[in-house]
Amino acid sequence: MAVLNEEQVMLRDAARDWTQEKSPVTALRKLRDTKSATGFDAAAWTDMAQMGWAGVIIPEAHGGADFGYRSLGLVLEETGRTLTASPLVSTALTAATALMLGGSEAQQAAWLPKIASGEMVATLAVDETAHHHPSTIALTATKSGSGYVLNGTKSFVLDGGSADLLIVVARTSGAKSDEAGITLFLVDGSAKGLTRQNLTMVDSRAVANLTLSHVEVTADSVLGPVDGGFAILEQTLDRARAGLAAEMIGTATQAFEITLDYLKTRTQFGQGIGTFQALQHRAAKLYTDLELARSCVQAALDAIDEKSNDIRALASLAKAKAGDVLHLASNEMVQMHGGIGMTDAHDAGLYMKRARVAEATFGGSSYHRDRYAKLGGF
């Protein structure tokens, strides 16, 4: 497993400094309490883009740094620590990946520089129900002249309310759950027939439901092969899963560290509560799970950068293990803080709320256990 090089250490340190100073948890509280429409702070996003974070994985030719997914994971881990809301996952990770994997020269040249510069928000619109099932696509794209007409709905699209560019997964042939017959389309956020409903989620991040009603797109809006988009979709999702898992490890680590600090300072019955052995063992087990999950996330990101042939299994592994440990860490954070952890004034609730949304995004542990078994041939 690769250890960090000097550039990566600098990137991580910069991300840690910036998030802890400029984007602590209070920043998320502010977005929440002011009911921000976009769900992120535009100025902060500009800052982040200027530091190059929007283009970490994008080739230099398109204005990025070409540092790879492990590097982007370092940034995501730090933003995960402070629950920083930004289009990093939707735009810099997922949409950029889809364009890099499936985009034509022209498409890449048109969009990747705008993503790298932070001037554009882009997102992948895949799910159509409350659960992740990327091959279950009912939204139709019907040939119409030289272009297509799109009809259907998309659910819980990250930054779907503010995205300038939507990468819409549509069915061009086949039955509802077939992997064949899926095609990806680039749809402008201002397209006629597109309506978006912003949702208010427990984690205060921006997601939206989309309705596409007779949305017309041109032939050059197709991303990747017609009817054969599932391969690109799955490769994109696996990179998104590994990246999101890195963010989740950051969130879990910070939740654990805050809790550990509380165990060291809070006293009861004349004792620091961290001296109680039952809590010590729970903390030690949680630490064990964190270390195990961290290895999975790093391995998945490394595999992507190294173009290994086990990316699919490792991405599912990373997402499931990061989800499980974040679930546990956020529950233990509330419980070990006692009553104060139940108050809105404390951050524990914010970590738990973010945990559950991140767990559900791009497939939960149950989904990925099943997928891991399928990939393993059982």
Binding site: Q277, L279, G338, G339, D344, G364
Partner: protein, 395 residues
């Protein structure tokens, strides 16, 4: 048994005549009859029902008639309970006075205190809150610091309570105070006072679920007449513990309510989808089945504990596990419910979610308190280990 048969017939007839039809339907949360001076009744039948029951003393069926109670024997009270259940009658009154304070007043208060306070609990005229927890104390309740100084004819109370349920809605408080700072358990007294006394200030605490069922309550030079001390000076810890027993019994018998009427497996079938009549996610299905079995095991255990306690006249040792198991069960249920609903179970408010979904999501967040309030699960396990299993303290 013949008298009970007569009593049953009379009771059935009276309920039939006096329980309004709308009081025989499931109770929405907003119609909970907490009463008290500030109490409002969204449904006027709630008030009617309370008044009729209170007039017979049947809000507190077994309390003596002298204090406004129903004066019923245990057998008669059971019949009343059964007859109310038969027509699905709602409880006429929700009250910490009924559940917690009343029983200890009957045991520890002076005759004058009983005559002053019990009848107003029965009628719902006075709503009580509980001044126990403090910010620095947590599970170590007896380390409380709120002072009550002897000023001749009154005590002067200064300090702060926390987790005071509905303190902003309550009329009076039963409150643990420190009257001797040189000892721990033996320096605690049990005081009653009016929440409108100058210097009492409850501030609602907002929870992660968005609700504010608890307050921080501040006391600044609050004057409490000495007649409002219950039991002996510095003898409050015994009363405090007895009251906690009643509180836990109450939690035990009611459990934590759980998801508002939704059957977990139905939610999963509808939100996750089904294959051959089974929940499509086989892993989730197995975990839901496991949970349903846990829930059944819990319900059967509550029944067994009741049967054993009744038969043996003593409390079944299994009683000690109920609070811990109930908290875990309710939390497990909500986690599975939220997982089953997927993203649809993670909405906070507004469009895109059904009212039911939003209620369940808030319920999930609220359930995290189950293992903290009324004795943390860690304390519960300590108690089982020490009192039931006989394991010793670490030296």
């Amino acid at each position: 048994m013949a008298e009970l048969d007569d009593f049953r017939a009379e009771t059935r007839a009276w309920l039939e005549a006096n329980c309004p039809q709308s009081m025989r339907t499931p109770m929405p949360g907003e119609e909970t009859p907490w009463a008290g001076r500030k109490g409002t009744f969204k449904n006027p039948d709630s008030k009617l029902w309370l008044d009729r029951m209170a007039a017979k003393g049947w809000t507190a069926p077994t309390w003596p008639k002298a204090y406004g109670g129903g004066g019923l024997s245990r057998g008669e009270a059971k019949v009343l309970e059964q007859e109310m259940a038969r027509i699905k009658a709602r409880p006429p009154l929700f009250s910490f006075g009924l559940w917690m304070l009343g029983p200890v007043l009957l045991e520890y208060a002076t005759e004058e205190q009983k005559l002053t306070h019990l009848p107003k609990i029965v009628t719902g005229e006075i709503r009580w809150c509980q001044g126990y927890s403090e910010p620095g104390a947590g599970s170590d309740l007896a380390s409380l610091q709120t002072r009550a100084e002897d000023k001749g004819d009154h005590y002067l109370v200064n300090g702060q309570k926390v987790w005071t349920s509905y303190a902003d809605q309550a009329d009076w408080i039963f409150c643990l105070v420190r009257t001797d700072t040189t000892v721990k358990h033996e320096g605690i007294s049990f005081l009653l006072f009016d929440m409108t006394t100058p210097g009492v200030e409850p501030r609602p605490i907002k929870l992660i679920s968005g609700e504010s069922p608890f307050c921080e309550t501040f006391f600044t030079d609050v004057k409490v007449p000495k007649a409002q001390l219950v039991g002996k000076l510095n003898g409050g810890w015994e009363i405090a513990k007895r009251l906690l027993q009643y509180e836990r019994q109450n939690i035990s018998s009611s459990g934590f309510g759980g998801a508002a009427g939704l059957e977990l497996e139905r939610v999963a079938l509808s939100h996750v989808g089904e294959v051959d009549g089974k929940i499509a996610d086989a892993d989730l299905r197995a975990r839901i089945a496991g949970h349903k079995m846990d829930a059944k095991a819990f319900a059967l255990t509550v029944r067994r504990v009741e049967a054993e306690s009744k038969a043996g006249g003593t409390i079944s040792p299994a009683t000690s596990i109920i609070k811990y198991a109930a908290a875990k069960l309710n939390q497990d249920k909500y986690e599975l419910l939220v997982e089953s609903m997927g993203h649809q179970g993670l909405g906070w408010e507004g469009e895109g979610f059904t009212k039911r979904e939003l209620i369940e999501t808030r319920g999930w967040l609220r359930s995290k308190g189950n293992s903290i309030e009324g004795g943390t699960s860690e304390i519960n396990l300590n108690v089982v280990a020490k009192r039931v299993l006989g394991l010793l303290d670490h030296q």
